[in-house]
């Protein structure tokens, strides 16, 4: 416990040092970046068209041509400001006239806020992206191009910088060990993706979890037989969710359980003392003598997620 506190204090100290470092007055380069041209111009004469860009940036254009974004060159879908290269980089006339990089919006060096704002001009459409402004990624300064690479994508689908789950592990490295445990969801095997359960672009639920259409926990999308409704619900399942008993990513214990012995897991709740007065779960009856030969609770209480036919989940 003491060791943990020391580590926490060390982490807080580190954070404080970084805060002081970052609060120092911005350098000249930073100030220059802040003055980047960002806003799309309304004057159509400021736009020079993708063919002009291609003359100097042919290698980039060649790659761009193979990506879904190339369709932005097919007519002005939403006005001239959403056309070709300039739909992301802004009007290029000033840049072309002098070749000055600072006269056009470049993503390198731009803030996450600026970058995301550019992308969301087109992509904030529908439920998938509609909460990006309030997502954990956004508020931690993670921008779209931290995961997507528009010009150098390694994955042609969704222009990802890397394939899942490696892409997610690059920040969430604490999750990698969990999917390498013997009992785990098949994420490393590419059967399940992180984004099957989490909405990486933000959502209304904590941990950016997705939900079923009927707003039940996302687990029930695959584990549909556990969803019920049941006459006899195991209240912990519906009240606290699957994570009351299971580790969702991976576990050292069978069935991704939180404890190695299922009986101890059950007894932590099914003890008739100290619980909430109105929701005391049944305690262990006297005929469950734990001194007799070991027998797991779930050998008898097999329908532990809920049952229509038995109040103690025997069938």
């Amino acid at each position: 416990m003491k060791r943990s506190r020391k580590l926490v204090l060390f982490a807080l100290g580190l954070v404080l040092a970084l805060v002081l470092f970052c609060l120092a007055p911005a350098g000249a380069a930073d100030r220059a970046q802040e003055k980047k041209p960002a806003a799309p111009a309304k004057d159509s004469s400021q736009y020079i068209g993708a063919d002009t860009c291609k003359q100097c940036h042919e290698d980039v254009y060649k790659k761009f041509e193979t990506t879904p974004h190339w369709k932005t060159t097919l007519g002005a879908i939403r006005g001239i400001e959403a056309h070709g290269c300039e739909s992301c980089h802004g009007p290029g006339a000033d840049h072309v006239s002098g070749g000055d990089k600072s006269k056009i919006f470049t993503f390198k060096g731009a803030t996450a806020k600026q970058i995301s704002a550019r992308c969301l001009e087109c992509h904030e459409y529908g439920e998938e992206h509609s909460n990006y402004a309030r997502s954990v990624h956004k508020i931690n300064d993670v921008s779209c191009i931290d995961c997507h690479s528009v010009h150098k994508a390694k994955e042609s689908q969704f222009l990802l910088a890397k394939a899942q789950p490696q892409l997610c592990y690059s920040c969430h490295q604490d999750i990698r060990p969990e999917f390498n445990k013997p009992f785990r969801h098949r994420v490393n095997e590419s059967l399940v993706k992180c984004t099957d359960c989490h909405n990486q672009h933000g959502g209304y639920m904590t941990k950016q979890l997705r939900a079923t259409a009927a707003q039940d926990v996302v687990c029930f999308k695959c584990h549909a037989d556990k969803a019920g409704p049941f006459v006899y619900e195991h209240h912990a399942v519906k009240g606290e969710g699957c994570v009351a008993c299971h580790m969702p990513h991976g576990s050292s214990n069978p069935r991704l359980l939180k404890r190695a012995q299922v009986n101890l897991l059950c007894l932590e709740c099914h003890t008739p003392t100290g619980g909430p007065s109105d929701a005391v779960p049944p305690g262990t009856p006297s005929f469950h003598n734990q001194a007799q030969k070991y027998q797991a609770c779930t050998m008898c209480h097999v329908q532990i997620h809920g049952s229509n036919l038995d109040r103690v989940f025997f069938k």
């Binding site: 369709k71 508020i139 259409a213 007799q292 025997f314």
Partner: protein, 835 residues
């Protein structure tokens, strides 16, 4: 000699490889994405990787290294495979006839446990389609799970060759889940777009289950569940920077899993097959004190036949076809219409109808109740009504200051009911015997349900025990459960500079969880012991706690007794949670990123004893990339939660510290490694019944008034698990056409947990439960080589090793199946062609 399947597979692979090796060595770098072939208006790229896996059987000859355990964890098998296939078609002028782009990929076909196909098709302005098919073959036989852990002590008079030890999991399963998801969007870029979706999830296959009554018997569980989900939605984008969507979902669930007892591996003395169940604990009467007849009982009861007065099953079937129809409506919007204001919201209403029909036929001697035949049948009906509303708003006060609020209201309620009849027929004889026909009593007074008498029944007056259930029962069992959540998160974010920002927030969550039960039953007790028996719980006692029996021996003309009983109860739990949130992000330099999140939560109540009343969550992430070819990352993730109140004493933590580094100095070599340490701890006070050795060492469990609760002792349960995870990957290309790679992944854990001690034996206290997988090593080294043979063509060979070893425990645990180990070498050979 007939060639083995392995030899055939190996020969086929060798032939393929030989053919491939015969190509002229004009290889280019085939792992580069192919340029593709231009055909018509399309550029077409394909990669195909064909090969196979070889898994030597010799790996599984060690008695502890079972293939079942290997298949539980890895489940790869020998044979030819389509390891990977991708097809990309792209219209050269982005104006293809049917589509502008098509992407299709799949892997694992031919025998791997996971097969996945993904298809995306897109036609500019017209439609966008995505489809995924996933098949997961899940084999599960972790033999400790639900294992009664019978000691290997021989059972008296058992048939030759019988061993009580059970080496498999009675909950083993070999299920296949097929999941399909298809989504089609029409006019994806227009102001009005239409979306259609269909998902299907089928899970089926053989599995095992257990059933507890009298003893625990093994059932064959024919698993079959199907979900079909349909979606139709429309998006409107008439207002600038505003999107309004309406979706209608239809969700149909079908559960057709059935259960049958097929384990009648023994016989009664009359030759009738019988199942004595899994647990053999004769001292505790499981299935009875003397399950097998001794030789002295011959010839009426030949030696090795099952004692007819023992708990045992002659037959059992159960079906409960379940149907759930859930229509769901959703209205959502997102808008940036107002400058500096970002809004989103969603309203969802769902109301599902649930029906099922339970049908159980039991033909087994339950010695405690003398039941020999029981039929239980009746309909289940109910609903799940769910309403949720979400609203999110971000106000961009200035370029640097943002105020954000997210509100969520979610409510579901589950009114459910089961109306069933139960008819019981009891065994004759004293003690009750399976060799005698069940007794059938003919009642002349009207009964609440019609009971079909068993075909082999004999007329007479049944012999009951005081534990015998009513002979005829009609019951209505109603349950209600609901949860209401209101959650609001308010945050203020401020960007101090373009390299540093911070936020502070407050979250409030209010939960109301309520449940209610209503039970009513009409019971008829036939002679004998009409007023000496009670209904089954919870109607076995009256409100005052007295036994709920017929007031007189008989209250009807035919000497039977009719009893009606009712019970209702309800309760609710209110929980208010307050959380303070704080976070910062920083980019001191372009190469260094740091973020820190903190959440401190306090609640005034909990729903379970181990739900947190106080919680602290610290997350620190940092990455440093000084050059494009070198990167370092570190994580600290600490979750502390507790419900440290009187008589619970729950403390938990999950602390994780990780570090990783990656180097890729040039295209020829790359190296990365990482280490993580995870410490999981939990402790809480638990109460349970246990026969203690004298003198007693554990205190009695006490209630809120400190009065002892009869039969329960208190103990401190603890769980400690420390996991070390280390990995490295290295890739080296010594020459242009050859790439070698390898790595090693190791998870090593240690831990301890409460061992609930059994009675004092001659060697001391006997610990009962096994520690299971608390301490183990899981090794996963691998190595591979890729050799470019020809333009686009390469040969690949890879070796993987999976080694799992549970560490031996110093305690004399009752775990005849442990420690569980396996090792498996897998050689994968393949030819990859990209064109």
């Amino acid at each position: 000699m007939k060639p083995t399947r392995f030899a055939l597979n190996f020969s086929a692979l060798a032939l393929v490889l030989l053919l491939c090796m015969s190509f002229p060595a004009m290889a280019q770098e085939s792992e580069k994405a192919p340029e593709g072939i231009n055909s018509g208006n399309y550029n077409i790229k394909q990669t195909v990787e064909l090969g196979g896996r070889i898994i030597p059987d010799s790996d599984f000859r060690d008695t502890r290294g079972t293939r079942e355990l290997f298949n539980t964890f890895v489940n790869l098998r020998s044979g030819a495979r389509l390891l990977d296939y991708t097809l990309e078609m792209r219209s050269l002028n982005h104006e293809g006839w049917l589509f502008d782009s098509l992407y299709y990929s799949n892997f694992g076909y031919g025998g791997d446990p996971n097969n996945v196909s993904r298809l995306r098709v897109y036609k500019n302005k017209w439609y966008s389609f995505s489809g995924t098919f996933r098949r997961d073959y899940s084999f599960w036989d972790y033999n400790l799970l639900a294992n009664p852990l019978n000691p290997s002590t021989p059972v008296a008079n058992a048939p030759a060759g019988f061993s009580p030890t059970i080496l498999f999991s009675p909950h083993a399963q070999a299920l296949v889940r097929r999941m399909s998801d298809y989504n089609l969007t029409f006019l994806p870029q227009s102001r009005v777009r239409l979306r259609l979706g269909y998902s299907r999830n089928v899970q089926e296959g053989p599995s095992l289950s257990t059933f507890h009554e009298g003893t625990d018997v093994l059932f064959f569980q024919d698993w079959k569940t199907t979900v079909n989900s349909y979606q139709i939605g429309v998006d409107f984008k008439w207002l600038p920077r505003t999107n309004i969507s309406y979706d209608q979902f239809f969700h149909y669930f079908k559960g057709d899993t059935s259960w049958v007892d097929r384990s009648q591996t023994f016989a009664l003395s009359n030759g009738v097959p019988v199942d004595i169940g899994l647990p053999i604990n004769t001292a505790a009467g499981q299935p009875c004190a003397q399950p097998f007849n001794p030789s002295t009982a011959q010839p009426t009861a030949p030696a090795g036949t099952v004692n007819a007065t023992c708990n045992a099953y002659l037959g059992y079937t159960r079906q409960a076809p379940t149907r759930t129809n859930s229509p769901t409506e959703q209205l959502s919007f997102q808008s940036n219409y107002f400058k500096n204001l970002d809004l989103s919201g969603r309203f969802v209403y769902s109301s599902s109808d649930n029906t099922a029909f339970g049908n159980e036929a039991l033909n087994a001697l339950i010695t405690r109740t003398r039941t020999l035949v029981r039929n239980e049948t009746g309909p289940v009906s109910g609903r799940r009504v769910s309403v949720s509303a979400d609203f999110g708003i971000t106000v961009h006060v200035t370029d640097k200051l943002r105020v954000m609020d997210m509100f969520r209201f979610a409510n579901f309620r589950l009114p459910m009911q089961w109306l069933f009849t139960e008819c019981s027929f009891f065994a004759a004889g004293n003690p009750a015997s399976m060799l005698l026909p069940p007794t059938v009593f003919t009642a002349t007074a009207p009964l609440p349900a019609t009971c079909a008498a068993p075909a082999n029944g004999a007329a007479g007056t049944p012999t009951h025990s005081t534990s015998s259930p009513p002979d005829v029962e009609l019951r209505v069992s109603s349950r209600f459960f609901k949860q209401d959540i209101k959650n609001n998160l308010f945050e203020v974010e401020y960007d101090f500079t373009r390299r540093f920002g911070a936020r502070v927030g407050y979250r409030f969550r209010h939960r109301t969880i309520a449940d209610a039960i209503s039970e009513s039953g009409t019971y008829v007790f036939f002679p004998s012991l009409q007023n000496g028996r009670t209904p089954e719980p919870p109607l076995n006692v009256t409100e005052s706690g007295a036994s709920n029996t017929c007031p007189v021996a008989n209250n009807r003309s035919d000497n039977t007794c009719l009893l009606t009983a009712e019970l209702s109860d309800s309760g609710s739990t209110e929980i208010n949670e307050h959380s303070g949130l704080f976070g910062i992000w920083a980019r001191p330099t372009d190469a260094l990123r740091v973020s820190f999140d903190l959440e401190l939560m306090s609640a005034d109540n909990t729903f379970t004893r181990v739900s947190p009343r106080q919680l602290q969550h610290y997350k620190l992430r940092a990455s440093y990339k000084p050059t494009p070819w070198m990167g370092f990352a570190g994580t600290v993730n600490i979750l502390e939660n507790r419900n440290n109140v009187f008589q619970v004493n729950n403390l938990q933590h999950n602390r994780l510290y990780g570090f990783s580094a990656a180097f890729e100095p040039n295209e020829r070599i790359s190296f990365d490694f990482g280490y993580d340490y995870n410490n999981v701890f939990s402790t809480s006070l638990i109460c349970y019944p246990v026969t203690q050795p004298a003198p007693s060492t554990l205190p009695a469990c006490v209630d809120a008034t400190l009065a002892p609760i009869p039969g329960l002792v208190a103990n401190t349960s603890f769980y400690k698990n420390k996991a070390n995870f280390f990995y490295f990957d290295v890739s080296w290309r010594p020459v242009k056409r050859l790439r070698t790679y390898g790595g090693y992944y190791l998870t090593s854990t240690s831990g301890s947990t409460l061992i609930i001690a059994g009675p004092q034996g001659t060697t001391g206290v006997i610990p009962n439960p096994p520690t299971g997988p608390l301490a183990y090593n899981f090794h996963k080294p691998y190595a591979g080589v890729t050799f470019d043979l020809y333009k686009g063509l390469s040969w690949k060979g890879e070796w993987n090793y999976y080694g799992y070893n549970e560490k031996e425990s110093a305690l004399p645990l009752v775990d005849p199946t442990g420690p569980r180990d396996f090792r498996g070498n897998i050689v994968t050979l393949a030819v990859r062609y990209a064109f």
